[in-house]
């Protein structure tokens, strides 16, 4: 249980963390939204504002240009009208005031009635048009009539003045002159002048009205255009005719800003960004048709940005506040609907985990996902509880089964022990029985064989031929009986695992010779030769139980002789690798293929068709096989079929004799 509480951290810090995570998340999201919106808004506002200012400016520019144009048109019309006035255009101008030879100190105005009429007309026009500074007329004779008296009657020849010359040059129309400083006042004026032309296109005078440019500046400045906008008008030569600042008036615009001057040399309408006095400005300019002036508005970029800063800040601030408010609301909602229920749920589940009490259930307070989580948890706990119960039952069943199994094993072990004891007892009884049987059978056989032998030896007196024949039969039968007993005994011993081999070094040659000697009488009786090949030197020394090797060989050679009527028995020994192979070949009755398999089984004698013609227990081959296998070799038979003879072969493991082994036998 300690383990589990260590594995599951206390739930409270988890929910705290959740809150903080949410807070951080909200914060980051709010910041991101605010920043993005702020930047977008800023750019959009700036763009919008700029466009609005631009359009407004262009509109105003157009408007001003138009107004100025209209204004000049009016003045032109007025001047044209004045020039066509019958009184004004009189050719009788000899008596008009003439300053060509005037002396300031001595000059006296002598004004005739016609001239006075003209002066009245001029003056009336000047008074009714406040922007008109003066109305005047120069004549080809050098006379000069003006709406009002000159302040100082200095020497003055109108024909030399630029306004007169310009009007003279374009005699057909109204001319607007270059600005020029008044000789008598400090004003800079422009004249709107018209030549008086007679019927033969001869200029006999020029009528004009001067407009002071101070009034022009006043006029354009009353247009509100944009934030901190600066407005100015320059003429074709780049002279500033009107300006937001009087410093620039009548100076060359190129002196103020070369970039601006360049812009103002551009086309009919130009928009450009220009650096003026180290600050970025948007410049909008428009040509005033007719006069060929350029009207320009300079708007500092800073001013636009300053103007939009406040709305942007207000919007972003509002956004931040709104987001904060929403976050707070969201957090409260989350806390109420998710975090606290989760907290609660995790406390309860932690309690269950701590106490491992699966009978407990968590309290479900809502039908939402958290409620479902709780329900699922309860279901899981219930399932776990059921599984645990089932497991416990299974465990108990297992324990019961185990106990039962132990009992069973104990019972079976006892039974087996009993069975083993019985088997051992039976085995012991069998051995005892065999020993006893063997003994009991040998005792009468001893008499039979012994006395038959004595009689045959003639030790008890002479016996006739017939008696010898019969006694021989008795002896042979009893010897066969003895052989049967011995073989049964051998089989029993082998099957009981009691047959012990006593291996020692011996010469195969000697063993083969003694076997041949033993079987020779039987073969001689049949006139059957036994051919024994000399044992090769490398197969001669063997480390085996000589008695048992001989027993096998006797059996095989004996069988060969027994089952062969004609031909020969051939014994051959050789060494192949680690084995010595001994084969006994005969030319006898052979073996049927179907009998091959059961040849070496216990109590088998091949059915020969001649009942009991061949004596034998049928144990010989079985014993031979077991003996050979006991010595680590193999035994096998081969035959080409009935009547074609057979070969019996057995192998024995061979090992090299070491000289010291011959000297001290390990037994």
């Amino acid at each position: 249980m300690l383990q589990s509480s260590r594995e599951f951290p206390h739930p409270v810090p988890v929910t705290m963390k959740l809150k903080w995570k949410l807070l951080v998340l909200f914060g980051v999201v709010s910041l991101a939204i605010t920043a993005t919106l702020g930047i977008l808004l800023y750019h959009q506002l700036r763009e919008d504002r700029f466009q609005s200012i631009r359009l407004n400016t262009l509109e105003q520019l157009r408007h001003i240009a138009f107004s100025v144009r209209v204004f000049f048109d009016e003045v032109e019309n007025d001047v044209r009208a004045l020039a066509q006035n019958e009184t004004v255009c009189t050719k009788k101008d000899t008596g008009f005031t003439n300053f060509t030879a005037a002396d300031e100190r001595t000059f006296q105005y002598r004004i005739g009635s016609v001239e006075q009429k003209i002066i009245d007309i001029f003056n009336a026009y000047r008074i009714t048009h406040p922007y008109v500074n003066s109305v005047y007329m120069g004549r080809a004779n050098g006379s000069f009539v003006r709406s009002h008296s000159r302040e100082r009657p200095t020497r003055y020849d109108p024909r030399t003045r630029p306004w007169y010359r310009q009007a003279e040059q374009s005699a057909g129309g109204v001319v607007i002159t270059e600005p020029y400083s008044s000789l008598t006042t400090k004003d800079v004026n422009i004249g709107v002048v018209k030549a008086l032309v007679d019927s033969v296109d001869h200029v006999y005078g020029v009528v004009g009205a001067d407009i002071t440019l101070a009034n022009l500046t006043d006029y354009i400045l009353h247009f509100r255009i944009g934030p901190a906008s600066r407005i100015l008008i320059v003429d074709r030569t780049g002279t500033v005719l009107a300006s937001w600042t009087s410093d620039l008036l009548f100076s060359k615009i190129g002196d103020y800003s070369k970039e601006l001057a360049q812009v103002l040399q551009g086309g009919h309408q130009v928009e450009e960004s220009v650096v003026i006095e180290g600050a970025h400005h948007h410049v909008f300019s428009r040509e005033i048709e007719g006069v060929g002036w350029k009207l320009a508005v300079l708007i500092p970029v800073d001013a636009i940005e300053r103007e939009i800063r406040l709305p942007v800040m207000l919007t972003t601030g509002g956004l931040v506040l709104g987001l904060l408010f929403l976050s707070a609301l969201g957090l409260m909602g989350l806390n109420a609907f998710i975090i606290r229920p989760l907290d609660h749920l995790s406390e309860e589940t932690a309690l269950i985990a701590r106490t491992s009490d699966l009978s407990r259930q968590v309290h479900i307070s809502s039908k939402d996902e958290i409620g479902m989580l709780g329900t699922s948890f309860n279901e899981m706990i219930a399932a776990l509880n059921a599984t645990q119960k089932a497991l416990r039952e299974t465990e108990q069943n297992l324990i019961r089964h185990q106990e039962h199994l132990e009992e069973l094993v104990k019972e079976r072990t006892e039974e087996l022990a009993e069975a083993r004891d019985k088997a051992q007892e039976a085995d012991r009884l069998k051995s005892a029985f065999l020993a006893s049987m063997s003994h009991e059978l040998r005792t009468p056989l001893n008499s039979i064989i012994g006395f038959t032998g004595i009689l045959l030896q003639g030790l008890a007196g002479p016996v006739n031929e017939e008696q010898v024949k019969q006694l021989t039969m008795v002896r042979n039968s009893s010897q066969h009986l003895l052989q049967l007993i011995n073989e049964v005994l051998d089989i029993s011993k082998i099957e009981a695992g009691e047959l012990k081999l006593s291996p020692d070094w011996f010469n195969l040659t000697q063993a083969v010779e003694s076997v041949e000697k033993l079987v020779r009488p039987l073969a001689d009786k049949k006139g059957l030769p036994i051919r024994v090949d000399p044992v090769p030197a490398d197969a001669d020394r063997l480390f085996h139980d000589r008695r048992r090797v001989e027993q096998v060989l006797i059996n095989l050679v004996n069988n060969a002789v027994k089952f062969t009527e004609q031909g020969e028995v051939h014994v051959r020994c050789e060494r192949l690798g680690d084995e010595v192979v001994v084969s006994v070949r005969d030319t006898g009755i052979g073996i049927k293929a179907e009998d091959m398999g059961s040849l070496f089984e216990t109590f088998r004698q091949i059915e020969t068709g001649l009942t009991r013609r061949y004596e034998g227990t049928g144990l010989g081959l079985s014993i031979s096989r077991r003996l050979v296998e006991l010595m680590g070799g193999r035994i096998m038979a081969q035959s080409d079929g009935p009547g074609r003879g057979s070969v019996f072969t057995f192998t024995l493991p061979w090992k090299r004799e070491k000289t010291d082994e011959t000297q001290n036998s390990d037994h």
Binding site: S438, T443, I448, I449, G450, F451, G453, L456, L459
Partner: protein, 127 residues
């Protein structure tokens, strides 16, 4: 002088057979029907060879052999067990008990004399 051979054997037929063969081959035979009698006879007659059956009444052949071997007077007399015990270890048991040879019954009358000749040093000179 004829070699004296003591036969300790309870079976009449076997006793007769051995006695007959030995007599016919010119040996003097002493007969004992059980072990006790055999030991007494051996002490009295000091035979040249003892043929000892193993299955005897009252006292078995192993015990008789051991008693004969434990007596200093009889210690050097060769004892040949003639027995129908042919199970594993029977020969070893007989040899361990003090026998000098072991002949399995049934005996072979044709070779029996050869088998015991080795234990009768004088027989060759006698014949």
């Amino acid at each position: 002088m004829k070699p004296k051979i003591l036969i300790i054997e309870d079976n009449e037929q076997n006793m007769y057979l051995l006695t007959f063969i030995l007599n016919r081959h010119g040996q003097e035979v002493l007969q004992a029907r059980d072990g006790r009698q055999g030991i007494e006879l051996a002490l009295k007659e000091n035979p040249d060879l003892i043929l000892l059956d193993i299955q005897l009444p009252e006292m078995d052949g192993y015990t008789v052999a051991r008693e004969l071997r434990s007596n200093p007077v009889l210690m050097d007399i060769p004892i040949v067990a003639v027995t129908s015990y042919a199970m594993v270890g029977d020969r070893e048991k007989a040899m361990d008990a003090g026998c000098s040879g072991y002949i399995e019954k049934p005996i072979n009358p044709d070779t029996f004399m050869e088998q015991i000749a080795g234990f009768l040093p004088g027989i060759d000179q006698g014949e």
